[in-house]
Homo-oligomer: 640 residues x 2
């Protein structure tokens, strides 16, 4: 499979094409009022010698352009747009012009510190930016068939391959922020150049070796430090932050900066599969399991603390001080996708779906122009400005960020959903997600075409229709979601009962045009009970319907959401919302609450038992919260 | 009244005299193994020219010596000790030797930066250290009758009075860390020198004036900054941190660094009373009310966040990330004591008692040699090392601190309890606390002597016996604690029913030797219901018996305390504990819990309702937690 080509496209993919991509192009060119400046395109113009000026922005500002290009590549593949393609080609031309003679490409170093190239891998994101540019080059090639950016990034990759490696004159280093690993694996997929795969192997196996490369380069450059947020050279010293404190084979838990972790693991899983390295496969399984079983939020968020945008420890999942960066859940989808390619186990797809429909969708406003970087499960806006444990939390989505990694990352993942919906394995085509789409997939010498339709995740019926004019014999494996107690599948109206292995229903036959699979995935409202290991959920319950997690918002339920309770036996009413909730299903239940008075004094600390009053509770899909201005929100609700 | 002189002294006062004062003397002289170094005495030796060397420690290191001297003063007043007095006199001699010709006294500036005196009031604690030294001088005079330290601090105060004021050649400044205000008021009490009172008035009224003094001195000294914890010169910029963002008459809420706030308010309340300034009285009432009604923990802790050791906002009272510095609760007692001197309202005494019996006692281990700086209401030790929102929290008390403000502060407050037990007002002697003690109080020309005994706060009977050989006519006002629903008072066996005004029972008569008042203060276990405004307490309940707040500890109840519940109707069993809990009352109740498994996986997020099992819950007085090693603790428990 090269790409999915949705005809019955989801609203979101249309939104990305019509609104998000043009909006982000404006942002990259500093044409959005009230947004943090980007300067990313200007940086390339300066590096290319087309304009005078200073570099501005994060040391990894280039990556915003690369991610935007990748989103454009997938979008063009879904629906051609000559004007957009022309704009992107001009950007590619600009990038090529900013590339150095030797293949090096990075506007920060080219403009600001050409002599300091490759002297600070721990802190300076050079390989990270290269990785994103390589990903864009691969996507542009896959999405449009054009080699212009692919040629640029191959020269870049060749340059990197010359700089890094075991040779005496080479640097024995690896990135502070992983990303190059997964990017080079993707480049290997399209080029089949073994040097790229070997370089990934080198980067991964050097990681955590002693004496430590970050210390060596730190000494060598005279102990200068780029970041001082938590004290001098903290990024050099806190090696677990970059998953570089020990070799990956010895690491037992998901640790450090969450985005770095999942990017690294995505590359490693890809490498483990293609190199057939059982040790690396075991490393992936062990670290996946720790993350998914002990450090994952119900929203598919990861990274429970702001400090270091990092994991905390097993079962420490605070709802209000959580970080759960949008990019981390995108990286989690990327990691899950690689695990699925390695192991046909629906757990990976379940996690991927959880991340997609909750944190990733929630990272963007319904208007496509505002974004969350941090995705809390509980917000009390009145407190945010006063208690510094909430300094990282915003009660509403922002137009752009000084560190703008998340918005273009959301755009590229939503435009490339085909790669997540389907997993092409030699033995079967896994269908993981039920997003509406048309697809054409190469199976040996035939092309299997199919169309998924329905109104997932709102309605329980999904239709998969074969649209290949020529019959194709192959195995389709349909994911039976973890949230669905009683899935049913029929083929051309007849109930089918194939073999279910690790969460997939396998159906092998010769597929003819018009063959129609119907999945019925009943989605009653489910109570998810807080895990007893997680003190922040103890005695609480969350509502989920299909893959969607729900929440209470102040706009519907008034302030002081913490005073609301959902009785054990209350019935749920599911109904379609209005306004911004049109075509979305909302939930109501009879609950109870009590009313705090503004004049309440604490000091007696001598209160009577609280008197509860009946109150109807209204739950909305969590991904759509904060689209009606500022207000309280919470997912986990007291039961009783 | 000058001092209380307990004969039937509480165990704690004995502990302070026998253990705490000698231990802290060793600490100040760097003779405690495994403790953070102090160097405080050495700093004075260097400043006095008796030793060569460098200043070491906090810019306010001197204040540790001053607080220790104050504790010694009160201790000697309770029980003479020639050797201890000799040691203290030698320290006073050393301090006098370190004082400059002009009266200036501060070892940091004298040793390290004599040219920089009074150039950085916002950040450098010069007036704060002076305040503590003045307090020590006053206490030493009041406790021993000796003027040696009083003369030193009068010279210091006179010097400060010459430097600060409205004159053209004077500095129009005031301290970043208030303390001098309350100290000068105490000095005024013993010297009746009006310049001292006027200087307090000046410091308080200049506060928050524009153009801002902190900015002026910052510019003047070339924008240098002493503290950079939260960025350059943050202490200069964040003026609310020092309650200097606006004039006190305009401030509406308790804000900023909690210790600064209560120290400032203690001085201001003292000034308001003596100057009869109604505006300042209203300021005190308004700010007290905001603090006590909306920002006070059930433990008498204040300051709900670590960042800036500061208040947050109304009703934001997190249990686990709280700061609640021991010194802040001591300062709260000081503020409450001044409010009582101004207004005979038992609310102030209720808060004072809450702080004393919970956070202040809890700040010190039962062995008198380990201390808490931060006093959380909930601790989960396994998480502390991983989630940086807990960086300030220690699961067990420490031997000493780099910033050692709290330990000697606890010592001086416990030795000076007489000033909190009694409030001498012209119209009545308020008896606020029922700590066992003997006291002699001057009433006009007579001396009223009385003895309080009983086993407060463990048993419900308190005896107050008149021991004056000569009859004295006066009004005694007995506080009826807020926690007691049905207090009863008898005089010589006969039930009395005097007038109760604002929480005090007023009894006027001619008191004869042997007259005996018996207070019966029934103290059943009380359920304190979480205030609905406080989301961190919603649906939860805490136990209190008498003034003591109770908690669950892992040592008695196992791990995962968040899984325990206390049913609405469970009965309480109160019993005396054993070992370290001998003479302390513990509480048991039938509750329920469920058992988390170490292998619990989160990722399914698809659990059944949790199955509860009966479990006996054991509650201990919170002040005595963490005396059995590291383990979980929590005060607020789910009800149900």
């Amino acid at each position: 499979m090269h790409v999915a080509d949705p005809a019955h496209e989801a609203k979101y993919q249309r939104l990305v094409r019509d609104v998000v991509i043009p909006y982000q192009w404006d942002a990259l060119n500093d044409r959005v009022a009230e947004a943090e400046p980007s300067h990313a395109i200007t940086n390339f113009r300066i590096a290319a010698g087309l304009e005078e000026g200073e570099f501005y922005g994060m040391v990894f500002q280039d990556s915003d352009v690369a991610k935007w290009l990748e989103a454009v590549a997938w979008s063009l593949c879904q629906k051609p747009d000559a004007e957009l393609e022309k704009t992107a080609d001009e950007v590619i031309e600009l990038i090529a012009a900013a590339q150095c003679e030797d293949g090096y490409l990075n506007t920060y170093f080219t403009v600001k510190a050409p002599e300091a190239r490759w002297t600070n891998l721990a802190e300076c994101h050079e390989l990270y930016c290269a990785g994103h540019m390589i990903e864009a080059g691969v996507a542009w090639f896959q999405g449009t068939g054009k080699r212009n950016l692919l040629d640029v990034v191959c020269r870049l990759a060749d340059h990197i391959d010359s700089v890094f490696g075991p040779g005496e004159t080479q640097l024995h280093g690896y990135p502070g922020h992983p990303e190059i690993e997964l990017a080079l694996m993707r480049l290997y997929d399209v080029t089949e150049e073994p040097r790229y795969l070997n370089l990934v192997k080198y980067f991964i196996e050097e990681r955590g070796a002693q004496p430590h490369f970050y210390d060596i380069e730190y000494e060598k450059r005279g102990k200068t430090s780029y970041w001082n947020t938590y004290g001098p050279a903290w990024m050099v010293k806190d090696k677990a932050y970059s998953q570089a404190h020990q070799p990956l084979a010895e690491q037992q838990t998901a640790i450090g900066h969450a985005v770095r972790f999942v990017y690294l693991m995505a590359g490693m899983a890809h490498l483990a599969r293609l190199s057939g390295d059982e040790g690396k496969r075991q490393d992936c399984l062990r670290l996946w399991n720790n993350m998914a079983q002990r450090q994952l939020y119900i929203t598919g968020g990861i990274g429970s603390q702001s400090s270091g945008e990092a994991f905390s420890s097993d079962y420490d999942l605070p709802n209000d001080t959580v970080y759960a960066e949008s990019c981390a859940s995108i990286g989690l989808m990327m990691f899950a996708r690689r695990m699925l390619e390695m192991e046909a186990d629906s757990h990976y797809a379940d996690v991927m779906e959880r991340a997609l429909y909750n944190t990733v969708l929630g990272g963007m406003a319904l208007d496509g122009k505002h974004f969350f970087y941090v995705n809390p499960l509980e917000v009390h806006p009145k407190t945010l400005a006063f208690n510094h444990i909430y300094d990282h939390v915003k009660p509403v989505r922002q137009r752009w960020f000084g560190c703008a990694c998340c918005p273009p990352n959301i755009a590229r993942v939503l435009t490339s959903l085909g790669h997540y919906i389907y997993t092409v394995r030699p033995d079967a085509l896994l269908i993981n997600l039920y997003v509406g789409n048309d697809v054409a997939i190469q199976i040996d010498e035939n092309t299997l075409r199919l169309r998924i339709s329905g109104n997932y995740p709102w309605q329980d019926q999904v239709t998969i229709e074969i649209t290949s004019p020529v019959p194709v014999t192959h195995t389709l494996a349909l994911r039976l979601p973890d949230w669905c107690a009683e899935p049913a599948v029929s083929l051309n109206g007849e109930r089918v009962t194939g073999e279910v292995v690790r969460g997939y229903l396998y159906l092998n036959r010769c597929w003819h045009e018009g063959d129609t699979l119907t999945l019925t995935l009943p989605m009653p409202v489910r109570r998810v009970y807080g895990n007893p290991q997680v003190r922040q959920q103890a005695g609480k319950v969350a509502l989920q319907r299909g893959p969607l997690v729900y929440c209470l918002e102040e706009a519907d339920n008034g302030a002081n959401l913490h005073n609301l309770s959902l009785p054990e036996n209350s019935a749920f009413r599911v109904f379609e919302g209005k306004g911004i909730f049109a075509h979305k299903m909302l939930i109501q239940a009879e609950g109870s609450g009590y009313h705090a008075k503004d004049t309440d004094a604490l000091w007696q600390y001598d209160r009577s038992p609280v008197q509860r009053e009946p109150q109807t509770l209204t739950f909305i899909p969590w991904f759509s919260w904060a689209n009606r201005g500022e207000g309280e929100m919470r997912i986990w609700v007291d039961e009783g």
